[in-house]
């Protein structure tokens, strides 16, 4: 009995953790899998990508920025290729226009 309780408590303590969420980064096929919108699976967003619409950098949560793509969406920022490996195969660190900023930023996206 005691071991069962310890197992349950241990499983709860070792709470599931993820670098992505329904808001940003989860895999998706439709918007119902995301808080706001799903960038459907394909070469640009391999596996699908949950994101939120934005008009500027300030509207994106931490570790993301507003890329001027698909009407303005938040994407993970990066500096080197390995920064995007947590998103899976097909994701690369490439430049994109910053929405509302007039500069280039490095973000994770597909080919």
């Amino acid at each position: 009995m005691r071991s069962a309780i310890l197992a349950i408590v241990g499983a709860l303590v070792a709470c599931q953790h993820s670098d992505v969420s329904r808001e940003i980064g989860a895999r998706c096929d439709s918007a119902s899998e995301c808080d706001e919108r799903c960038l459907g699976p394909g070469n640009t967003y391999p596996g699908g990508f949950c994101s939120i619409a934005c008009g500027g950098r300030d509207e994106c949560p931490g570790a993301t920025t507003c890329a001027d793509r698909d009407g303005g969406v938040c994407l993970f920022t990066c500096q080197v290729e390995t920064d995007c490996t947590f998103l899976g195969t097909g994701w690369h660190c490439t430049s994109a226009d910053l929405r509302g900023g007039g500069i280039k930023v490095m973000v994770c996206r597909g080919a």
């Binding site: 349950i8 499983a11 709860l12 709470c15 993820s18 992505v20 989860a26 895999r27 596996g47 899976g88």
Partner: protein, 239 residues
């Protein structure tokens, strides 16, 4: 069905750690005093005679005099309150109905049907490895559960009679917006207090902790469950 059979069945289910042992013979009646007590106080001093087919009193005089038949042999109650869940444990408004059946002087079988109504907020997603992760809030989801418990009544302190409860349950849970459902088998432990406000009516308030596992759909598989509930309501003696 006899009380002993119910007690035995609950013990086998793992929820009767406090089930009463085999009845012991009642203590010998006190020797008559040389100076007899006044007639109106004599019955209070004597241990109550055990009813036929029931276990005898564990300890004569443990229960206070006013509560001799305060709870009754059978009772029902309805309670309302709040349940806190999280992750894949439902939480929200809790409504529960209970049936109490006396097993011994201190212990009652407590059969409970409870309903939990939380928000329908979606909180599950697929991570980048395609594993489903759910992170519901404390008041999300819905559930229904039946629980078999043993409730032990303690000595009343004034108008308040505390009790403790342990048991096991089986329930169905659902997170509608995430299309996640499944069943759960939690263990319950808790306690509370009842206050008699009329010969057959009492106010009851209690809190409980539920700990167990759930088997869920959408590839979530077996998940730990941890919930907390606080409820209050009215208890009605049937007989």
């Amino acid at each position: 069905m006899s009380r002993r059979l119910i007690t035995l069945a609950l013990a086998c289910a793992g929820g009767a750690a406090h089930a009463q042992p085999a009845p012991e013979p009642p203590p010998p009646a006190p020797a008559p005093s040389v100076d007899p007590a006044p007639p109106e106080t004599a019955p209070r001093a004597a241990a109550p005679a055990p009813a036929a087919g029931t276990t005898g009193p564990a300890v004569a005089g443990v229960l206070p005099e006013p509560s001799e038949n305060e709870i009754g042999d059978q009772a029902i109650s309805v309670e309302i309150g709040a349940a806190a869940g999280g992750r894949v444990t439902p939480g929200g408004l809790r409504i529960a109905g209970q049936f109490l059946y006396q097993l011994s002087d201190e212990d009652w079988f407590d059969g409970t049907a409870s309903f939990t109504f939380g928000s329908g907020t979606a909180a599950c997603f697929r991570d980048r490895k395609d594993a489903v992760i759910c992170s519901h809030g404390v008041a999300d989801g819905a559930g229904i559960e039946v629980t078999a418990s043993i409730r032990r009544m303690f000595v009343a302190r004034g108008a308040f009679r505390p009790f403790a409860r342990v048991g096991v349950g089986f329930g169905l849970i659902r997170f509608d917006r995430d299309n996640v459902s499944g069943y759960t088998v939690p263990a319950h432990a808790g306690g509370g207090v009842r206050v008699a406000i009329a010969p057959a009516i009492a106010i009851v308030a209690e809190g409980e902790l539920a700990l167990g596992f759930a088997s869920l759909s959408r590839g979530l598989g077996s998940q730990p469950q941890l919930g907390l509930a606080v409820t209050a309501g009215a208890e009605f003696r049937l007989r």
